[in-house]
């Protein structure tokens, strides 16, 4: 499928596109923002929505999404540097928590960030927010360093080619993720600690089952919309 995509791009005579994706509304937006070195985006989606101008309030994409799209579509090193500066210290934080010595933790951070650069074409902002995507890469790397066998991952979805990303969907996912973050931020410290333990691999499945304090309900209700949309999308494309 990647091949087809590439071909399409070439047919249109656009040698500038280094990745398989055609530049689109979102990326041209990221270009503008990066070029102007303007304040990139605001994380406050609600405020941004009230702004005038661009339809669907594209400006309220998070900085991380804008940087990631610039990396994916234009191999933008400056944007990659910003992603590095943002995520590397966080990655080191969570990896050190597992008890690995700092030098080994940094090897994993390096590995994760290189994967972000190399696999950028796989980033699909309609299906995953940047932090979720990088979290998953980090979990895979961390497990692969501990085991000889690779961590089993699901088959890649074979989605039909799309000429353009649905900007509204990307924005909605971005905003929903921000709301989730706010909701998690409001948890009581003990609950918050439990979420961190569960999602950083410190609880077994049996522990998680016993953990009534784990706010799985909150999590589900906060991301329900995104889930429904994603399911709808999969259905539309005849994958179910």
């Amino acid at each position: 499928m990647r091949g087809e995509k590439k071909q399409k791009t070439e047919e249109k005579g656009d040698p500038k596109a280094p990745s398989h994706r055609k530049p689109n509304m979102l990326t041209s937006l990221s270009d503008q923002l990066l070029a102007a070195d303007a304040p990139l985006a605001t994380v406050d989606g609600d405020t941004a929505n009230q702004r005038e101008g661009e339809s669907v309030g594209q400006e309220s994409l998070t900085d991380q999404t804008v940087w990631m799209l610039a990396v994916r579509d234009h191999r933008d090193r400056q944007a990659f540097g910003r992603l590095f500066d943002y995520f590397a210290p966080r990655l080191k934080g969570v990896i050190c928590r597992s008890g690995l010595p700092p030098s080994q933790a940094e090897d994993i951070v390096q590995d994760v960030m290189l994967t972000v650069w190399r696999k950028a074409a796989m980033f699909d902002p309609e299906r995953a927010q940047v932090s979720a995507w990088i979290y998953q890469i980090a979990r895979n790397k961390q497990i692969d360093t501990l085991r000889k066998e690779k961590r089993p991952v699901p088959e890649e979805l074979k989605l039909p080619e799309e000429t353009q990303e649905d900007a509204a969907q990307v924005l909605a996912l971005d905003q929903e993720t921000q709301k989730l973050r706010v909701a998690l931020g409001r948890l009581k410290p003990a609950q918050r600690e439990m979420v961190e333990k569960a999602y950083l691999g410190e609880l077994t499945h049996a522990d998680i089952r016993e953990q009534t304090g784990l706010p799985l309900g909150t999590i589900k209700s906060r991301i329900r919309l995104g889930l429904e949309r994603l399911r709808h999308e999969l259905k539309e494309q005849g994958l179910t």
């Binding site: 932090s131 497990i143 699901p154």
Partner: protein, 211 residues
Amino acid sequence: MTSVSHHIPDHIMVAYVAGSLPHAYSLVVASHLSMCDRCRTRVAAHEAVGGSVLDSYATQDVSGDLRQRVFDQLDDPFEEAPRFERSGIFPAPVMEALGGLPPKWTPLGMGVRQSILSEDDQGTVRLLYIPSGQAVPDHGHNGLELTLVLQGAFRDETGYFGVGDVEVADDDLEHTPIADDGMPCICLAATDAALRFRSFVPRLLQPIFRI
């Protein structure tokens, strides 16, 4: 695949996403996700939570040269890990575990066969082939057992399981799955300890059969 009606429970899914689920079970979960859009979206939701945890986690300064080291490698050639594709009834994660080759079956008696895909001290994952109408050998298990149907169907005391369905059997479930009539049932099954197939193989022989 809209007929999938037995899914991965939340506690197992969170453990899978977070990486604390043992390898054997993870292979079953990854295989189910390859066949079930509903669970795929649920996984995406849990990954969003993981992303939020990462995003709001206390930062820890990285060494001064790490950034440069990463930038120095951006143009380095790198080898893509081989990607496996679904083949017949076997989803990509199973094909990967099989190394891209057809399963090597070992007879267990009464037409039942198995092919062990992986085992370690935390669990074993195997393919099971059960002729139609045949009962899965009576097997006690100590902990969690996950069974995903890849072909055919089986039923037991708890219900009916068709292609894509996962049966989650916790510690104490005593069950006798029977392959449905029609075609042989092929399952992917993960257990945390050696199964004890009581009816077919004397306990003493178990080490030989690795079951």
